[in-house]
């Protein structure tokens, strides 16, 4: 397990370097005279030369990159050109919101997708199966912004209730805080969980046909035990792969939910950074998000090992 973990973490390093080079290059490859925009219209400096110097653009590309990486290594993510605030303090405010929303959404999606997939497979070709599959297709097809808007408008119309319009601190009201995140996370989670449900169902049906499942049934094990212990564990790996892929999608979806539910997270910060050509902020945010996606994928890789002992031995 230790070797496996070390190998996976080791593989993250070149990926991270590649991401950092791409993020760094994007700023310098964007069409249009970005520097003059930042100087003239956004007032980030008093002169074009000062603007270029401030961005470090008066230095050779490689030197700029090395300096940037050096600052990152010292924990200096720079300062937002638009708000003048240190990026680290912006991250400290926004990152927890996005992490919480994304992780809750993934958790909800996995729970919903896993349970619904197992139920649909266990009761194959029954009205329950049809209902669960239809629901999954609906969740997959309906845009999250539309679902989110309905989730805000309908309760206000019929119940006189709407979600909180400001963040409820966890320390002040833990239940209120979780309740505030529950609705957007559930909406996002249903969208993420639908493919998990379809994959889990398909894999469970595949596994049900395997000899070892038939053997387990033949030796008289309870159906629940056969499904949960013998079948599900083997059917989970493709579903886990999907979860890993969907983390990036969850972050994309969180932008919409953050806007609709007044959750000031990284998604909306990223949009603002792009809109204001705030590249100092943009670079750091993208790098952090890439790191987060990689961390979740590492967690998924570790989950493979936990689920499938054969991978554990292969990793040695």
């Amino acid at each position: 397990m230790g070797t496996f973990l070390a190998r996976r973490v080791g593989l993250m390093v070149p990926t991270l370097v590649l991401v950092s080079v791409m993020v760094f290059a994007v700023m310098r490859l964007v069409p249009g005279d970005v520097v003059s925009l930042m100087f003239a219209d956004l007032g980030y400096a008093k002169s074009l030369a000062e603007m270029r110097a401030r961005l470090g653009l008066d230095q050779p590309f490689l030197e700029q990159y090395v300096r940037w990486i050096g600052r990152l290594a010292h924990g200096d993510l720079g300062r937002s050109l638009w708000t003048q605030r240190p990026v680290t303090s912006l991250l400290a405010e926004r990152l927890p919101v996005t992490l919480e929303l994304t992780l809750l959404a993934i958790g909800f999606g996995v729970a919903y997708g896993g349970v619904a997939g197992v139920l649909a497979a266990a009761w194959r070709d029954t009205p329950l199966d049809a209902g669960l599959r239809g629901t999954a297709v609906a969740f997959l097809s309906l845009p999250t912004f539309w679902l989110g808007t309905l989730a805000i408008v309908l309760p206000s119309l019929y119940l006189g209730w709407s979600p909180s319009i400001q963040i409820i601190p966890f320390g002040a009201d833990p239940l209120g805080h979780l309740a505030q995140f529950a609705l957007p996370a559930a909406l996002l989670g249903t969208h993420l969980g639908a493919p998990v449900m379809r994959m889990t169902r398909a894999m469970m049906l595949e596994v049900f046909r395997q000899d070892y499942v038939r053997t387990a049934e033949a030796k008289g094990l309870a159906p629940g035990r056969v499904v949960m212990i013998h079948a599900l564990r083997n059917a989970m790996i493709p579903s886990l792969t999907i979860v890993g892929v969907q983390v990036a999608q969850a972050i994309g979806g969180s932008v919409v939910m953050e806007t609709l539910f007044q959750l000031p997270g990284m998604g909306s910060l990223l949009i603002e950074a792009v809109a204001h050509r705030d590249f100092e902020l943009f670079q750091s945010l993208v790098l952090c998000l890439a790191l987060f996606v990689m961390a979740v994928n590492l967690a998924v890789d570790l989950a493979y090992v936990a689920v499938d002992p054969r991978l554990r031995s292969a990793g040695r």
Partner: protein
């Protein structure tokens, strides 16, 4: 549980109100209902929050920054909700010569009791310091002839100009010209004071900024020593950042907010007005604001737009009645420009004379003009636009394209990402035609200034000697009669030449709950907080 109880209580309250109200059938006397009541907190929804708290910094102050500081800061003069310029912390003013203004400050105007200012009195040195911050700021454009500011005594400020400026006093009311306390600013690396952070927000305005949570809310408390006795009536104001209009209405319906103002020159989309009206207790207020309407432009230094016949043909293609019915069901006017519709210098169509005919759709006449201009088969052109002003803006560009297409101007829509739009198209670097958004500015002087050669907002590349002469004449006029005559003449020339083709201007919509009393929508600039000073909760 709490929500259910509240909902139940509200339902019971409504039932009781209906029963008792039906039995008595006697409304409260109006005078009593309109007596201001002290206390209460007003909750407002805004689409975005401030970008820093400095209106005199290096970058143009964001609209939401101007709004926030209108709560907390004072100016020498301010606009009333109906648009008149009245003294704010100025007691009186005199103009001893054409280029000299002497302003006497009110005594006893106190800053908020926050460190490091600690509630001290505002003096002429604060005004002098504020104007010393102008050079290098985008707001310098408001006072191009300002030469010197001195403070001969504690309550007197003297302004010396290099040339007369007819809009000098009105421009002091701009929602960027707030008076800053020197010691409240943080000293930056260059030694200059910086007012970007929320801790520096210490003014003499009606409300004190108590809390700022980025992208969430601004909490203001009443300034107990506010110089206008007895005001504000409210104990506080909470401004929540709710970007989505549906979420704003849902929050109003559930009782989380009381007011959705049209403070940024946008207001609620007309298509959402019926939903707003369906909210129990909600009122939709309409207002005509100091805003010039969206318009169609082209470069006047390039063919074919340099030919007035082509511009007139394009104007004749616009179906204003259809436009207003289709897009602005809550009400609109045929146009607002080149000075805004509520301006005393605005000339309505029925008094415009000959040029008025270009504001009525006439496809045959338009085609004839194109033939005369040498385009019997019309011509192809790019129509620039941006998604930066929302999806509805793009729909209006499409409508414009359809109308132009009817007279043979075949346009292809070029959608520019907002930053690119700002850095190129908005600076006048574009090909073909462009759909320009509405402008909310302060005094008429600001609009006039945009038609001078070299002005960064002269997107149309106008260099008309007559226009330049009239604008300069109006800016330097020594009395109102001369200024009015120059501006009206300018408006006449502008309509005749159709340098911009102004499109219909909608009324702006504010949504307010009936528990809020005394609130009237403001017509000028980003100044709705001045209306909140006179509002109260019933």
């Amino acid at each position: 549980m709490r929500l259910t109880r509240r909902h139940l209580a509200r339902t019971l309250h409504l039932v009781l109100a209906a029963v008792v109200g039906g039995a008595l059938a006697a409304p409260l006397p109006t005078a009593e209902a309109q007596t201001p009541k002290k206390g209460g907190v007003l909750r407002v929804a805004e689409r975005a929050d401030p970008v820093g708290f400095d209106t005199l910094g290096q970058k143009k102050a964001a609209v939401y920054t101007q709004l926030a500081l209108t709560f907390t800061h004072s100016r020498l003069f301010r606009y009333t909700p109906t648009g008149e310029v009245v003294p704010d912390v100025a007691e009186k003013w005199a103009q001893p010569g054409p280029t000299t203004y002497v302003i006497t400050l009110k005594k006893g105007v106190l800053f908020h009791n926050k460190p490091p200012v600690n509630g001290r009195e505002l003096t002429s040195e604060d005004v002098k310091f504020t104007f010393e911050r102008l050079p290098g700021s985008p707001e310098e454009r408001l006072f191009p002839t300002l030469k010197a500011v001195t403070a001969p005594d504690k309550y007197t400020v003297r302004f010396e100009l290099s040339a007369p400026a007819s809009a000098f006093i009105p421009n002091l009311a701009a929602t960027t010209m707030f008076i800053y306390a020197k010691e409240a600013g943080k000293v930056g690396a260059d030694g200059a004071r910086d007012y970007t952070s929320a801790e520096t927000v210490v003014g003499t305005g009606p409300f004190v900024l108590e809390e700022y949570r980025e992208k969430q809310r601004l909490v203001f408390k009443r300034h107990p020593q506010y110089f206008e006795a007895g005001k504000p009536y409210l104990d506080g104001v909470e401004v929540y950042t709710i970007p989505d209009a549906s979420a704003q209405l849902a929050a109003l319906r559930s009782g989380r907010i009381d007011l959705i103002p049209a403070g940024t020159g946008q207001g609620l989309a007309h298509q959402m007005a019926p939903e707003a009206r369906s909210i129990p207790g909600a009122k939709v207020l309409t207002q005509r604001v100091f805003q010039t309407s969206e318009n169609l432009i082209g470069r006047l230094d390039q063919k074919p737009w340099s030919d007035v016949r082509v511009r007139r043909a394009a104007a004749l293609s616009v179906d204003r009645e259809g436009f207003m019915k289709a897009i602005y069901p809550e009400g609109a006017d045929p146009l607002s420009g080149p000075v805004p519709l509520p301006s005393k210098y605005f000339i309505p169509l029925d008094k415009l004379g000959e040029p008025a005919r270009y504001y009525k759709q006439d496809v045959a006449a338009a085609k004839k003009l194109l033939v005369e201009a040498g385009f019997p088969s019309g011509f192809k052109a790019r129509l620039n636009t941006t998604p930066g002003y929302g999806p509805d803006y793009l729909s209006r560009t499409e409508l414009l394209k359809d109308m132009l297409g009817k007279i043979g101007i075949d346009t292809s829509i070029a959608v520019h990402e907002y930053p690119v739009w700002i850095s190129s198209v908005y600076k006048g670097n574009y090909e073909g035609l462009t759909h320009i958004p509405a402008w909310t500015l302060g005094d008429e002087d600001e609009w006039l200034g945009t038609y001078l050669p070299g002005d960064t907002r002269n997107h149309i590349h106008l260099e008309d000697g007559k226009i330049t002469e009239l604008v300069k004449g109006a800016r330097q006029a020594r009395n109102e009669e001369t200024r009015a005559a120059q501006i009206r003449q300018f408006v006449g020339v502008f309509h005749d030449q159709l340098y911009r083709i102004y499109l219909p201007q909608p009324v702006l919509l504010t949504v307010v709950h009936s528990r809020v009393k005394g609130y009237v929508p403001t017509v000028r600039g980003y100044s709705y907080p001045v209306s909140i000073v006179g509002a109260w909760i019933e």
